[in-house]
């Protein structure tokens, strides 16, 4: 595989497909996580009334506590999706790219 230079690989159609897909996935995932995280910080910083609202109203549990647990669960869920589900198809694509390069060489 050393026959093909890194510059050649960067123009390989399979490589372009791989990085495009991974880029989209990465942007989506980071976008989702940052949206959740930033809205948490914004809520905490600027909407204390909302964060301090009891839910259900006769309990002591605030929306802030629910939101905190929600962020933890979202973090685990998104990581699982990225690392296991979406990652699998990209790994397969990467393996295929390496195979094609070796064949071409």
């Amino acid at each position: 595989m050393s026959q093909m230079s890194l510059a050649d690989i960067s123009k390989h159609p399979r490589f372009i497909e791989l990085v495009k897909k991974r880029h989209q996935l990465r942007v989506t995932m980071i976008g989702l996580m940052l949206t959740v995280f930033m809205s948490y910080l914004v809520a905490w910083a600027y909407f204390p009334g909302l964060v301090n609202t009891r839910l259900p109203s006769d309990s002591s549990v605030t929306i802030g506590i629910w939101f905190s647990v929600f962020v933890v669960l979202v973090a685990i869920f998104l990581s699982a999706y990225y690392a296991v589900v979406a990652g699998k198809s990209l790994d397969a694509l990467n393996a295929q790219l390496i195979k094609e390069i070796e064949q071409d060489a």
Partner: protein, 557 residues
Amino acid sequence: MRKFTKLISVFLFAWGCGVPTLALAADAIAGPVEKQSLNMVAIVIFIGFVLLTLGITKWASSRTHTTEQFYTAGGGIPAWQNGIAISGDFLSAATLLGITSSIYTMGADGLTIIVATLGAWPIVLFLIAERLRNLGKFTLIDVISFRLNAAKIRPIAAAASLVVLVFYLIAQLVGAGKLIQLLFGLDYVVAVISVSALMVVYVAFGGMLAATWVQFIKSVMLVVGGSVLALLMLIHFEFDVGEIFASAERVHVKGAEIMNTGGWLKDPLSVFSVGLTLLFGFIGLPHILMRLFTVKDAEASRKSAFYAISIIGYFQLLIILIGFGAISLIMFNSDYHDAAGKLIGGNNMVILHVTHFLGGDFLLGFIAAVTFATILAVVSGLTISAAATIAHDLYAGTFAKSEVTEEKEMLVSKLSVIAMGVLAVIFGLVFEHQNVVFISNLAMSIAASANAPVLILAMYWRGLTTKGGIAGLVVGLASSLLFIVLGPQVMVDIMGMDEALFPYAYPTIVSVPLAFLSIWYFSVSDKSESAVKERASFEEQYVTSETGIGIQAASKH
């Protein structure tokens, strides 16, 4: 090998000598009879942990001959095991004791630390985990210097990493010394020397493989202990989670306010500064990122980050229950307060008191031993990372005049480990009576401001040049130092002034944007020939970072 066994027996002897003083000291500090039985359980479990980990170290030392084995265990750690070890490296005594006590004293605002931690980790996974593994060999500096002028940027990046690691080590050790003093009744000096000596033995002989196992075992113990504690808490409240919060609200001195925001973070920018510090701080922690090199490829690196996130998230959820539950059980319980009405051992002891309340002496002994193990696991991670930075980045990568052989680099690594041990003892003793909170915040802030911006841009921005990278490192480092010194933790808490020049505890809200800005400015304005080449070589780095092709060729030095 014989040298190793001899060293262990000398060490155990020295530690054994410390044990009698420990029982005496316990009487002096604690008084109540029950504290002594606590010591026995804790000591037995802890000695078991030490013997087990030393046994593993002996085994690991027979498998650690090359620098690659020393720094990254030969890249042969399975992803699931590495994930657990990362959580062991990451969940420090500060998490276990600090967050619980934050919730206990400040209420809901303590949750922001948990959320910022869990908000930051997935970003590390999405942004860093795979590219880091594909571009680097042993340290994050490998990645930063991949296409830049290594001779120029390595020493400065290494200095930033070392500052982070040493400050982190000081904070851990001073905290550890005080904690062990309280838990085991061990003298502060003996405690600091014990921790440092064990740390040196693990890392110098067993390298990354031993550190991995120490972190792995500790993490399993921590998760088991935390789960048992949370379960006992639920049983105590008859599985009525709502009642845990309702009862806390009824009992707490602050009343309903404990569930509300503003107990700790008084203004909006403080909220953002916590979020920003943790988000970028994790991206820049050398000892955590180093763990991603111990697996075989980018796929395994990504998976280990996911396992780590799951464990850390699960544990943090337990901490929410334990923290709020502790308020009802401990706050007005005279068993855990001294005559003056202060919590015995200070606010950091909340989780230990609640453990004693729910699980008696045995569980307390177990959690106390886990706390000690936690400290060992974290300082071992810091030490191996510092050894790699000194031997790989500074010695082999920058300053060595003659040819660097495998043997020479190993020798330098081991000497660095010993030097870290000596440094740890010295700083531990010097800072015994200092308030070290600012030191750990400083470590995190420098990681966030100096390391993280350069690392992210080295991976993702074509325009980065050596000049820009150096500017970012220097500005990030200097501005975090400056704003911490001018901030409330130094000016108000330590120097006793009424008001600080810089109002926020974390400088990142200024220093992180400043670092990004200076990287951008000094890169864009760099018209030199080498800068043109560096920008051009981004193309090849891009291919390697995405596919892993060409790693071997690239990472040889």
